[in-house]
């Protein structure tokens, strides 16, 4: 019974996958607005640490978040594969820097497993689930949670 029910509700979701320090992450395709090659990011003095700076996309100024810093990973110099993924969090449009962007994958909701509750540290907060695919672990992140409640509140002030 449970199985049948599951299949009925088995939505197919699309995820944009990207790489960060040997791990593959996926984000909901609906929040991704565009993917850009890495370009010079103008630092904004006095900005919060997780904001790398701002970029110009066709005349609009967009803040770029340092994803590595957010995920607790060491900094790394950008290379040819480095991309800036422009996403929409709530009403905010921000860019996140990733090592590379791979593809869009289709996942059934039933394929998604809840993440192992190891710790409650900084990075676990925005992990939505995991998925095994071609012997690889895909970590699905919920970008809404990329910023803490307080940070978002700060933005909304």
């Amino acid at each position: 019974m449970a199985e049948v029910k599951k299949q009925e509700n088995d939505q197919v979701l699309q995820w944009v996958t990207f790489q960060l320090e040997n791990e593959t992450y996926g984000v909901d395709v609906m929040v991704v607005k565009e993917v850009l090659k890495f370009q010079d990011i103008a630092p904004v003095p006095g900005a919060p640490g997780y904001v790398m700076g701002i970029i110009n996309i066709r005349g609009t100024v967009i803040s770029v978040i340092n994803t590595r810093c957010r995920f607790g990973l060491p900094d790394r110099d950008p290379d040819d594969n480095t991309r800036i993924v422009i996403i929409e969090i709530g009403q905010h449009i921000v860019g996140i820097v990733v090592d590379s962007v791979a593809e869009v994958v289709y996942l059934k909701r039933s394929e998604i497993e809840t993440p192992p509750q190891v710790n409650k540290d900084e990075s676990a907060r925005f992990i939505q689930g995991v998925c095994h695919r071609d012997d690889q672990l895909l970590i699905l992140v919920e970008l809404d949670k990329l910023l803490t409640e307080e940070e978002l509140a700060e933005l909304d002030h």
Binding site: P45, N56, V61, S63, D156
Partner: protein, 748 residues
């Protein structure tokens, strides 16, 4: 029917009524000075009337009530039944405030709260002050008494009423148009019976304009009830209209009225649109009304009658019909002067209205958001041009450079034109000051006259709005702190009446606003004392301040020279806010004062906020833009020639020691300090913040560039020292520095 179900109409009402209310406050204050100005009285009357009409249409009953009583009062005033007194004005202004409050609530889409009963009663008492006014429907116009009553009561007895009157065709036309537009079926009926009678009686007085207005008023205001009953049938919808109206107006009337020449003019309206449409030729000869105009009138009628808010429809209609009415007959009777800008905003009451007045329709109301969009795009264009100019200057192609030069010119023109569309006369802000000054002066028992100069000066719409608060504050200050009590002034050998002069003028690329008062002035020594007392600085520092620096002290937070805190001032927060606000606008404030002679405050703001001239600099690899308004000079400095005073590096410029800051240390993280300091010479930009001047050491000076300010986005908005970002000619991003913020954040 839900509260605000017709958003579009509501929006239009808000725009229109907003303008009128603004005017009203100005007019009311003026009225106090010229209590006998008939035109002014009429204008005010009409203002309340129009607002009432619109409110009625939207069924904002509390607003209608309040406007209505006020209107009645003004009706008495302009008929000379009452005299304008200060007490009366107080009540009227309160009424205006009440209306304004409701207006604000409506803006928020909150159902308006009714005005307080006391106020309404007070108004009513004033309005009824004369025994004549006890019943709103009572005729205020004695000569046309019967006609008025007839109409007001929407009674068919009008026949005998009208019998006593003779109206010229023209006047009658006006009456018709107005009444018609009011869309009171009853009136139509009324009139239908009226006209035939007219020629018969035709020997009595003539209706003057004022009386006509009164009549109108009564028709609309008083008979809300009776008309409501009768209207629905008429109002349901144009086509349905034909039937009931045919029934209502005794059909016999149509014929006779059409047949009688004098009433030919009335006929179209008496018959309302259907018949008018049928025989347009009939009205042709009627008189001044042309076909077009008539059509317009018809449109309006139809418009109104298709609405489902019968009683309310009427006033709204009138308000629209009137401009047309005014435009139509050449009105030898010198129809009372049109109320200010009325004919202009009116046509926009509804979209359809645009078609209604084919005459003299030269303005278009545009949503400011659209203008902002255009402005933005022009901004982008400017950036592209900048890039092209840069490329053009490096390429040796003559054709290219010619084209670029051409583009340069065109873009500049386009930019100016677009900018001009956003310009508004500063009158919009100045307009509220007479009221502010009057109220405050009255409550402080001072005698103050406010003079306005250069009201027509245009500046950016956003600026006009942003300047309102600071200016109000400064003007209040001038009344409260500046102007002395009349007795004191007399003792000092000054006229009892204090004068505040508020002026605006364009000075190159910025606007200069000055607020001059001939009051007490400020005593620098007293300010020094206060500063020490408040612990803002020690005595030595205070003594060293120049006079103008002393005056700037009043901008310090928490600084107040008033010993007592009043509801007007004395908390010491206002000037701080004023300063901050003006600085945000890239403006500056300068104070000059002579004890006993008065104070002069000068505010300089740029013409526009959207485009800003900046000085581009490089710090490290990164480009930054310093607002040119704050840059006072640039020079090359031998760093060995600097001194260190109290731990702060200073540079001597023309015998003045200015603190020197290395932007590299503030704005870059790596800050290869060693390098920067080992260099022997540096580029120094002297910036002015208020009365303070400081030097910034920068790595490279790029040059002057006009930039479009882009917000930093919500994530970075409010980062101290950063005003925004812009895209440079080469497509890179430069952060625009906010100098005061920068100093506050880093130099403290």
């Amino acid at each position: 029917m839900s509260f605000f179900d017709d958003e579009e109409i509501l929006e239009d009402f808000l725009v229109e009524a907003g303008e009128i209310l603004e005017q009203l406050s100005e007019q009311l204050v003026q009225l106090e000075k010229q209590p006998d100005d008939k035109n002014l009285l009429n204008a005010i009357f009409r203002g309340f009337h129009t607002v009432k009409g619109g409110a009625g249409f939207l069924q904002l009953t509390p607003m209608v009530d309040c406007c209505h009583v006020t209107e009645n009062l003004f009706d008495n005033l302009r008929n000379g039944k009452r005299q304008v007194t200060s007490e009366l004005m107080d009540i009227v202004l309160q009424a205006l405030d009440a209306v304004n409050n409701m207006f604000a609530q409506i803006k928020e889409r909150i159902p308006p709260e009714p005005a307080s009963d006391e106020l309404l009663q007070a108004l009513q008492v004033l309005a009824n002050g004369d025994d004549l006014g006890s019943v709103p429907a009572d005729p205020n116009v004695s000569e046309t008494a019967s006609a008025a009553r007839g109409a007001a009561d929407v009674a068919i007895v009008a026949a005998d009423g009208s019998a006593s009157d003779d109206m010229t065709d023209e006047e009658f036309d006006q009456l018709l148009a107005a009444l018609d537009s009011a869309d009171f079926e009853a009136e139509a009926e009324n009139r239908a019976s009226e006209p035939p009678a007219t020629p018969a009686a035709g020997d009595a007085e003539e209706i003057s304009d004022d009386e006509f207005e009164a009549l109108l008023d009564q028709l609309q205001g008083a008979p809300a009830e009776p008309s409501a009953e009768k209207e629905p049938s008429a109002n349901k919808e144009p086509s349905a209209n034909k039937e009931p109206s045919a029934e209502k107006e005794p059909s016999a009337n149509k014929e006779p009225s059409a047949s009688k020449e004098p009433s030919a003019s009335k006929e179209p309206s008496a018959n309302k649109k259907p018949s008018a449409n049928e025989k347009p030729s009939a009205q042709q000869n009627s008189d001044e009304i042309t076909d077009d105009e008539f059509e317009a009138l018809l449109d309006q009628l139809q418009d109104g009658s298709s609405s489902d808010a019968p009683p309310a429809a009427a006033p709204a209609e009138t308000s629209k019909a009137r401009p047309v009415l005014k435009a139509v007959p050449d009105s030898a009777a010198a129809q009372t002067p049109p109320p200010g800008a009325k004919p202009e905003p009116k046509p926009e009451v509804r979209a359809a209205a645009a078609d209604q007045a084919p005459v003299a329709e030269t303005t278009v109301r545009v949503d400011t958001r659209r203008l902002d969009d255009i402005m933005n795009m022009v901004g982008e264009l400017v950036l592209v041009r900048n890039r092209l100019v840069r490329i053009g200057s490096t390429a040796a192609d003559e054709m290219l450079s010619k084209a670029v030069a051409n583009l340069d010119v065109v873009t500049a023109d386009l930019q100016t034109s677009v900018m001009k569309t956003r310009m508004q006369p500063i009158k919009k802000v100045f307009g509220r000051f007479p009221r502010v000054v009057r109220d405050l002066a009255r409550s402080l028992k001072k005698d103050v006259v406010l003079e306005l100069l250069g009201e027509e000066t245009d500046l950016d719409k956003n600026l006009v709005e942003a300047l309102a608060d600071p200016l109000v504050h400064l003007v209040r200050n001038a009344v409260d702190h500046g102007i002395e009590l009349p007795d004191k002034r007399q003792a000092a050998g000054k006229p009892r009446q204090g004068t505040i002069l508020l002026s605006a003028e364009q000075e190159g690329d910025h606007i200069l606003l000055t607020i001059n008062d001939d009051g007490n002035g400020m005593d620098p020594d007293m300010l020094r004392g206060k500063a020490v007392e408040k612990g803002i600085m020690d005595k030595d520092a205070a003594d060293r301040l120049s006079n103008s620096e002393c005056f700037d002290l009043i901008f310090a937070p928490g600084f107040s020279t008033k010993t007592e805190v009043s509801d007007v001032s004395g908390r010491g927060v206002g000037m701080d806010v004023v300063k901050t606000k003006i600085t945000q606008l890239n403006g500056s404030v300068f104070i000059d004062s002579k004890p006993g002679r008065g104070t002069r405050i000068e505010i300089k703001v740029p013409l526009t906020l959207a485009i800003m001239p900046t000085l581009m600099i490089l710090v490290g690899e990164q480009a930054f833009a310093l607002p040119l308004a704050s840059v006072s000079e640039i020079f090359n400095l031998d760093l060995n020639g600097t001194h260190v005073v109290d731990g702060q590096q200073v540079v001597t410029v023309r015998d003045k020691a200015l603190p020197l800051f290395h932007l590299r240390r503030w704005l870059t993280q790596d800050a290869q300090r060693g390098d920067a300091e080992r260099k022997t010479d540096a580029n120094v930009v002297i910036v002015t913040v208020g009365a303070q001047r400081v030097g910034f050491v920068v790595d490279t000076l790029i040059g002057q560039e006009e930039v479009v300010i882009k917000p930093l986005g919500r994530m970075l908005h409010g980062t101290p020292g950063m005003a925004g970002a812009t895209i440079t000619g080469d497509g890179r991003i430069a952060v625009i520095l906010d100098v005061p913020g920068l100093l506050k954040r880093y130099a403290a």
